[in-house]
Amino acid sequence: MPKDSSIKHVLIIGSGPIVIGQACEFDYSGSQAARSLREEGIKVTLINSNPATIMTDPVTADHVYLQPLEKKSIVKILNEHPDIDAVLPTMGGQTALNLAIDCEKAGIWKKFGVRMIGVDIDAIDTAENREKFKALMEKIGVDVCKGDTATSFLHGKEIAQEIGFPLIIRASYTLGGAGGAFVEKAEDFEKALMAGLQASPVHEVLIEQSILGWKEYELEVMRDNIGNMIVVCSIENFDPMGIHTGDSITVAPAMTLPDTVYQRMRNHAITMMNSIGNFAGGCNVQFAVSPDNQTIIGIEINPRVSRSSALASKATGYPIAKVAAKLAIGYNLDELKNSITGNTSAFFEPAIDYVIVKIPRWNFDKFKGSDRRLGLSMKAVGEVMGIGRNFQEALQKACQSLEIKRNGLGADGRELKDQARLLHSLANPSWDRLFHVYDAFKLGISFRTIHDLTKIDKWFLRQIEELVHIEAEIEKHTLDSIPKELVDRAKKKGYADRQLAHMLGCLESEIFNKRYHDMGIRRVYKLVDTCAAEFEAQTPYYYSTFGEENESKTSDRKKVVVLGSGPNRVGQGIEFDYSCVHGVLAAKECGYETIMINCNPETVSTDFDISDKLYFEPVFWEHIYEIILQENPIGVIVQLGGQTALKLAEKLHKYGIKIIGTSFDALDLAEDRGRFSTLLKENDVPYPEFGTIHNTDEALELCKRIGFPLLVRPSYVLGGQGMKIVINEQELEEHVVNVLRDIPNNEILLDHFLEGAIEAEADAICDGENVYIIGIMQHIEPAGIHSGDSYAVLPPYNLGDYVMRQIETYTKKIALALRTVGLINIQFAIKNDRVYVIEANPRASRTVPFICKAYQEPYVNYAVKVMLGEKKVTDFDFKPVKNGYAIKEPVFSFHKFPNVNKELGPEMKSTGEAIYFIEDLMDDYFMKIYSERNLYLSR
């Protein structure tokens, strides 16, 4: 069926603030869907409360509502746009679906004559209702995990007899899994059942077939209105059943499945999709497969675009959200074209000739006291994807993308050698199990033991074991003796130059020079083309590998590289992707060829149609440098990708690569507390008393001069990691010891803490001569709460003229003194009407997207044009829309970490943010948070 021409105006619901389990993948899907519908001449209205999204940009939709995701907002939108005739709720995760269902129940859609497209409510209900799902699966002949609840010993025995062994007993209403047991053999069952029933206060146990350790797979499927179906991607979990798929390392395509088993799974997926209802769009189906390949169990089905769809889109190049939107408005798959090749059909299954490995990024360090074991509830805050021509290369590249101070898997001198701890870690997976599998092989723990404890498929374990063997081979050599063949082999398996340098005891640069210049072992770039090179592809989406043919042709246009922000984590999230995307678009407008480098599959910046060339690569020195050698850009933009990109400025500078905008020296000056305070002093800008220390003795000496309370701040950290307010010498010493244990050799700053001060921050664009302040935000909580965790109001709600004038004056002075070219963010503490500068960051800050949205002006676009020297600040006609106030509301994911201290402090803990507009300060919402301000103080 061709496009349904009765649909003229579609409402897309976004996913709201970033929380664990629902991250920026939905910005990717929402913005793709919006673009896809507008391509068809359909008007798009978008609602999302998350300001740091591309989807809520005027470039994406016709009307954007930055409103709370509530029924009230929907009614308001529908009243203002009576011509909206359809709503697409499948692009904004569970949040959007729930809101759409609420509206359905309340009769809102019916009242306004809006129909839901791309979804079937009954299908959602079946997918989410465990009992309905089980019943349906039984009906269509798909096995599910067998299990039942027993309230008596006899009943329990009956259940066990039916489901067989091994099985799991979970006692109801007990804490921490008390009374639960894994029962392998019939003879152990009765005792365990008795214990479970006794442990449960209501004498009730759940007895389930054990599928722990089974292989786990996901299929990403597309379905159209007439039931045409394709599997876009098969994804295999490296971590077997028992760990949430969002917390599992995953690999695509499936590596260990014979065709017979894969096709059985594919058939199940198709039957399941057809049985749950009639809908058009993307769908994710999860399966468990017994290690002997005999049994396939349907775990769950999600009839909407999901985190895995984003991964599958990036893994294959197939634009799932874009196509899903087209299907929702009536197209069939065979009527659409594959946008990668441009001339083959969208009805096909991508064939890939590389391997992708996704590794989740956790942030347990931010949630002290949390249970770090991985299990059924997702805990990761972000993810990275590595692409390679083989599993080992993809795995190493993913490890290099994580930014956890590792240079890849192994060979960096940071391995764990404690046998007992290793064995414990293998059996009790946390974020570092992958590394411990490697360490276990290296320590000589047997293959069998590692397999028994982890249940990871032997093929994957062999791959890691092989890496350990190569490492041993390399270690026999020195830089001079290592043969070319071995370097080539190591590079093909993904080893970084830094890892080789570690093994050979030389410098990274020595390895690089030897292999790149002397041996000619250089990266080549291959295309992600959905078709394994069967057809010519139109889309410039590349990854690096070591092979014979380089498919990336360098043009003679002037180019810039934009460095992305890597995996999402607390303190560095979607805001930076927003800035990167706008940076790319602005540079394009100025006629530059834009080159994006990033490794986060959840992002819009890694969409193949954003930049002129996308290199899906680790934001890791070696990868960036070789792209620069390949492309020869005029420079690199590091200001937009958060700390990840900024951190690379020093090395770029050292290698003589131009940093676009603010120079490395100025970036460094702002980070170097000593030099920065001299600059402040010279410019008559006040700052809190401070000093730097390297050990506890210095700390105890310095505190006498500055006086308590003190703010302890490690250098070069993200989101206030390790920051703490201390009030006496004992606390100070304790904390300094802790910081130096976690971050050895760190230079620690001790600031006098301005107790009870008000915090504010300013963002500005500077061209070196003129400064334009784009916005000043006042925090609601007093100083001491990290700016990312504070409610903040734009513009300030109760700062007097005198204070405002100081903020403006200091912002301009500092921006000019640092010779900023581009964006700068300055944080202030205000006490007794005196303004103190706490820090300055000459880069796009977390708040820039917020201000862009609130004032409806493209500041990142302007700033990038200034950085490129294409425009001066005075060239822009600034016309911010200033109605009332915009409140930035921090959003936390504490529900994932029930045991964590939820008190806020100088270390950031929030995972996302929402925007809330108020007309005046009499607003109830504002009054409420304002009255709670003091409760947040963390002392």
Binding site: I226, G227, N228, I230, V231, S234, P253, A254, M255, T256, L257, P258, D259, T260, Y262, Q263, R266, N267, P291, D292, N293, Q294, N332, L333, D334, T344, S345, F347, F348, E349, P350, A351, I352, D353, Y354, V355, R389, N390, F391, D457, K458, W459, F460, R462, K526, C531, A532, A533, E534, F535, E536, G547, E548, E549, E551
Partner: protein
């Protein structure tokens, strides 16, 4: 352990150096690539690949070893394999051995650790051609070139009579409701499995069997199998098919069988630039309007213009990527055929309904 080196030489002079896999030796044939990501053992044992060197584009081969039941013929008859990353170890619990041992057992020479993507792009732009793999001519390119020159051109090559069964044999339950005479041009076992599971008793005849011999068994229908080689080089099969059509019994053809059926109706075939080989080929069924993902393996195709001009044949299926003819049926006879592989081993099972259609046709015909 030092791995043995091997080389791959293409007819246009392009050389790739890699590692030997399988059995040491020298072997050549037409080089083609398959984009499937699973099912290597089924591909290697598919008789339609007889005499061809198969490049698999997927990055890893060998991961799940081999299995005694996952074969499409008694033994692989391919001329060699080319892979990116080869696994000598496998993890499959229910597997029966490693792919390496399997290749050695059947004396197949392969090459690994080469840039297969470069090779595929080369074949894509230059077209299908002959090639040779060897572990015996390292440093002796001229010797290898001489060996390559001995390999016959695929165009005009008749291979079916070599790979087909030499003796007739039966497959399925002899008490099944329907009997089908299968003309074996290089039949895949899964075709027989699919027929048998639908209540069909199959008798498989060598390619050059006469109609009289088949008709003597009194079958309810005829099946024209897949197989290797150029359909234009098989006038004997075309003649037999014409005779079969004259009986008005139901006929079903797959791949080469489809091309033969077309030829029997006066439709010509031609060699494609580099063929269709993979598990992801999009086909639209013009009769139902629905589309299916299919398994394909063909280097020749029937001429679309001829079909469009034909009075006796109509198009039932088209390939969505390049609009080539993927399925035909006769207007006045119970005969139809598809260019792709509904038995799909390996590949998606979307097109299995065609076997049901064939069985229905036989029931309706009786």
């Amino acid at each position: 352990m030092e791995k043995q080196k091997a080389s791959l030489l293409l007819a246009d002079g392009t050389v790739f150096h890699g590692t030997l896999i399988g059995s040491p030796g020298t072997n050549g044939g037409e080089i083609c690539f398959n984009t499937g990501m699973t099912g290597y053992q089924e591909i290697y044992t598919d008789p339609s690949y007889t005499g061809q060197i198969i490049v698999t584009t997927t990055s890893h081969i060998g991961n799940y070893g081999v299995h005694n039941d996952e074969v499409e013929s008694k033994a692989p008859t391919i001329a060699g394999i080319v892979v990116n990353s080869f696994s000598e170890v496998y993890s499959r619990l229910d597997g029966h051995g490693s792919l390496q041992n399997y290749l050695v057992e059947y004396k197949i020479t392969g090459i690994a650790d080469i840039d297969t993507r470069k090779l595929v792009r080369h074949i894509r732009s230059v077209g299908a051609m002959n090639a040779i793999i060897s572990s015996e001519y390292e440093g002796n390119l001229d010797g290898l070139k001489a060996e390559l020159a001995k390999i016959p051109d695929m165009n005009g090559l008749e291979l079916s009579s070599q790979v087909c069964t030499k003796e007739t044999f039966y497959f399925g339950d002899e008490n099944a409701p329907k009997k089908v005479a299968c003309l074996d041009f290089g039949i895949k076992l899964n075709i027989l499995r699919n027929l048998a599971s639908r209540g069909v008793y199959c008798k498989v005849f060598p390619a050059k069997t006469s109609l009289a011999e088949m008709a003597a068994w009194n079958p309810d229908g005829y099946f024209l199998s897949n197989g290797p080689g150029d359909p234009a080089a098989m006038p004997y099969a075309v003649e037999t098919t014409k005779e079969i059509l004259a009986t008005n019994k139901p006929v079903f053809g797959i791949c080469l069988g489809h091309q033969i059926l077309a030829e029997a109706c006066g439709i010509s075939t031609y060699k494609m630039h580099h063929g269709h080989r993979g598990l992801n080929h999009p086909i639209k069924n013009l009769l139902t309007g629905k589309s299916e993902i299919t398994s394909q393996n063909h280097g020749f195709v029937v001429n679309r213009e001829d079909v469009e001009k034909s009075d006796v044949v109509e198009i039932t299926h088209v390939h969505l990527n390049d609009n080539t003819v993927a399925g035909i049926r006769l207007k006045n006879k119970p005969a139809f055929s598809v260019q792709y592989h509904p038995e799909s081993s390996p590949g998606p099972h979307d097109s299995r309904y065609l076997f049901d259609d064939f069985v229905t046709l036989m029931h309706n015909n009786s």
